[in-house]
């Protein structure tokens, strides 16, 4: 019966090629548009570390000035000061914790004719690699000892290892950064969490840095922060150390807190820490510490752009228009065949059988429209990549999205077909035979 219905459907669709093209085209354009916008939204709103994102917490402490909050209404800063970050690292009250900031190094080749290169780098603790499940191609993170001693060790991104060492195992080799020799201890596999949750303040859809070095090199090498830096009040004295001791916030602090009890304990610890600091004349505002897990943190930082949200909304309205269009055309087409319907009913086709027949026809429209729509969506994403700079990672179609858009195509066109099929089948057959 299915094959018979399929043949009938194809026959009927071939009878009106222009109309069929219009119906499939409308579905395809609607699906294509919503797939494009939804794919971008999907990437933006993704949880890049879904398996443990609810155990990783961004830490906020309100060290801001007494008269104005960091952000209205009464929001604590999204980053921490150097002294608080280091204090929390030292306290080590969480299962694991990490402090990091983004910086850059001038990398010089041993060959004199090769131009030096300014490379983006992240100064961090080795816990970064274990907390965020960074995959390694060669070697691994440095030791805790290397953290403590501020050893000149470096982990390379996969791409940068490709560039420097042609992708070979470079563990043990040396690179010169800011005129100092660093030893390579690890090379990552390609790793590009999307969005870049661990530093949601800058370039949320950019790639991670190419070099990772121990954060404690900051003092000896006077590393500068390349990311967002916000201050209240002037530094105590105008020196590098003065900046480190200031109330400027520019580092990201994360704590791994697997259970609710861990979180409660950590919150209590933070509150106690701030009370302690208040005695030293810091933290003039009321105690206000916050913990956000990864999904919360991305939402808090408005990682999903408003444009993306608006476009998803508009493109679904657009899809609705395309579907209304198709419903209208299908209905008109079905009603025009009322004579045939009357005849089939007269020769004994049950309502269900006819309903099924028409549903097969609309599904053919829906599925072809959906597949064509996916192709259009894919083309749309290529367009988006050309339109928005550095959006190659943003505008992509993963299997989830393919599934989602096919589902949208199928469900919406079934819905579109359901009504006309129901309308046509519902009317008693005698009417068809009587009125022209």
């Amino acid at each position: 019966m299915f094959l018979y219905n399929l043949r009938l459907a194809l026959l009927s669709l071939r009878r009106d090629p222009v109309l069929t093209a219009l119906m499939i085209g409308a579905v395809a354009i609607g699906i294509g548009m919503s797939t494009t916008t939804l794919a971008v939204y999907h990437t933006m709103s993704g949880n890049p570390i879904s398996w443990k994102g609810d155990q990783l917490y961004a830490v906020q402490m309100d060290n801001w000035g007494p008269s104005q909050p960091y952000n209205e209404p009464d929001e604590p800063p999204p980053q921490v000061t150097y002294r608080d970050g280091q204090a929390l690292m030292k306290a080590a009250k969480a299962k694991d914790q990490n402090l990091s900031f983004t910086t850059s190094f001038v990398l010089q080749s041993d060959k004199p004719d090769v131009k030096p290169d300014l490379v983006q780098a992240r100064a961090t603790y080795t816990s970064f690699f274990t907390m965020f499940d960074v995959p390694f191609e060669y070697g691994g993170g440095w030791s805790k000892q290397a953290d403590q001693d501020a050893q000149q060790v470096v982990v390379l991104s996969n791409a940068y290892n490709e560039k420097l060492f042609g992708g070979t195992n470079s563990v043990g080799k040396e690179v010169v950064l800011n005129n100092r020799r660093f030893q390579v201890v690890g090379v990552m596999k390609p790793w590009n969490p999307m969005p870049k949750f661990f530093d949601a303040q800058d370039d949320q859809f950019g790639e991670p840095e190419d070099l990772f070095v121990p954060l404690n090199l900051i003092g000896p090498m006077q590393l500068h922060n390349n990311g967002n830096n916000s201050c209240w009040g002037p530094p105590a004295n105008n020196s590098f150390q003065g900046h480190l001791d200031s109330e400027c916030v520019w580092l990201q602090f994360w704590a791994e807190l697997p259970t609710q009890a861990d979180r409660d304990d950590y919150h209590a610890f933070l509150d106690a820490y701030v009370q302690e600091q208040k005695k030293l004349g810091r933290f003039p505002r009321p105690v206000h510490n916050e913990l956000h897990d990864v999904p919360d943190w991305l939402a808090y930082n408005h990682v999903v752009s408003k444009d993306s949200e608006a476009l998803v909304g508009l493109s679904f309205m657009f899809l609705a228009v395309c579907m209304l269009n198709t419903i209208g055309l299908i209905l008109a087409k079905f009603l025009r065949r009322s004579g045939e319907i009357g005849l089939r009913r007269a020769v004994g086709a049950s309502k269900t059988a006819l309903f099924y027949q028409y549903l097969v026809e609309t599904s053919v429209i829906g599925i072809s429209g959906g597949i064509l729509g996916l192709v259009l969506g894919w083309a749309g994403l290529i367009g988006v990549r050309h339109l928005i700079e550095d959006s190659d990672h943003l505008a992509r179609l993963d299997w989830t999205m393919v599934g989602i858009s096919l589902l949208i195509a199928l469900v919406s066109s079934m819905l579109a077909g359901l009504y006309p099929a129901w309308r046509v089948v519902r009317i008693p057959p005698a009417i068809y035979l009587k009125v022209q």
């Binding site: 009417i431 009587k434 009125v435 022209q436």
Partner: protein, 237 residues
């Protein structure tokens, strides 16, 4: 009232030419009730289309109601159809989406009559056919005979000078057919000229005279005794 002289109509397709009418001549006097008969394909319908100004013709002269209508343009023909001609079709041709009142209203709308005048005429026409109580019904809710009576009311409301009926009872059973015929006779007796196309000799017998068409030509003119006295239902037009 109607005078056709040597009318010819040729249908051309790429491969064949069909002489639907050749040297067709016919006179119908004011107040006559004429039946035009002939087998299918004889040219009856072409005659009706041309006489009713639904189609143009190739050669010949056609005078309708004292006016040469041979060379009128489309708008001119529409105007005459609207003001002077009434039609009754075999399949009634009511507009299924409109109720009885609005169906009768259709030709009046194109005449640009005032609303009060239109509704007076519609009322009167529907009373004539005995369907004044069905004004708000749509055609699907009426029987075939009732539908045809609505169609007659539609033709009457325009107060035409001449009425063309195309197999008016072709889709009706005999009882309904008789009612419709009675109506037509009543209309005719009040002065409206009627030309009726039919292949049914029974029907033709009720006309003043019959004209036979074969191969696009009038075969024979035969006077039929006046049958105006056969009024059974006392219908007033």
């Amino acid at each position: 009232m109607l005078s056709m002289q040597n009318i010819s109509k040729i249908y051309r397709t790429d491969v064949v030419q069909t002489h639907a009418l050749r040297d067709f001549s016919l006179e119908v006097k004011e107040g006559e009730f004429v039946a035009v008969m002939g087998p299918s394909g004889s040219g009856k319908t072409t005659f009706l289309n041309i006489a009713g100004l639904l189609e143009s013709f190739d050669t010949g002269i056609y005078m309708l109601d004292g006016e040469d209508v041979s060379n009128l343009n489309d708008d001119g023909r529409s105007h005459i159809r609207n003001e002077r001609i009434g039609f009754i079709f075999q399949s009634f041709n009511l507009i299924p989406d409109l109720n009885v009142f609005d169906n009768v209203d259709v030709p009046l709308r194109y005449r640009g009559l005032k609303s009060a005048e239109r509704s007076k005429r519609i009322q009167a026409a529907l009373e004539t056919v005995g369907l004044a109580s069905r004004m708000k019904h749509i055609p699907a809710q009426l029987s075939g005979g009732q539908q045809q009576r609505v169609a007659i009311a539609r033709a009457l409301a325009g107060e035409p000078r001449i009425l063309f009926a195309d197999e008016p009872t072709g889709n009706l059973d005999s009882l309904m057919a008789r009612q419709v015929l009675d109506l037509l006779e009543g209309i005719n007796s009040s002065g409206t000229t009627i030309v009726m196309v039919t292949h049914d000799p029974e029907l033709a017998r009720r006309a003043h005279r019959s004209v036979h068409v074969l191969d696009g030509q009038v075969m024979d003119l035969k006077a039929v005794p006046d049958s105006g006295s056969k009024r059974e239902n006392g219908v007033k037009a």
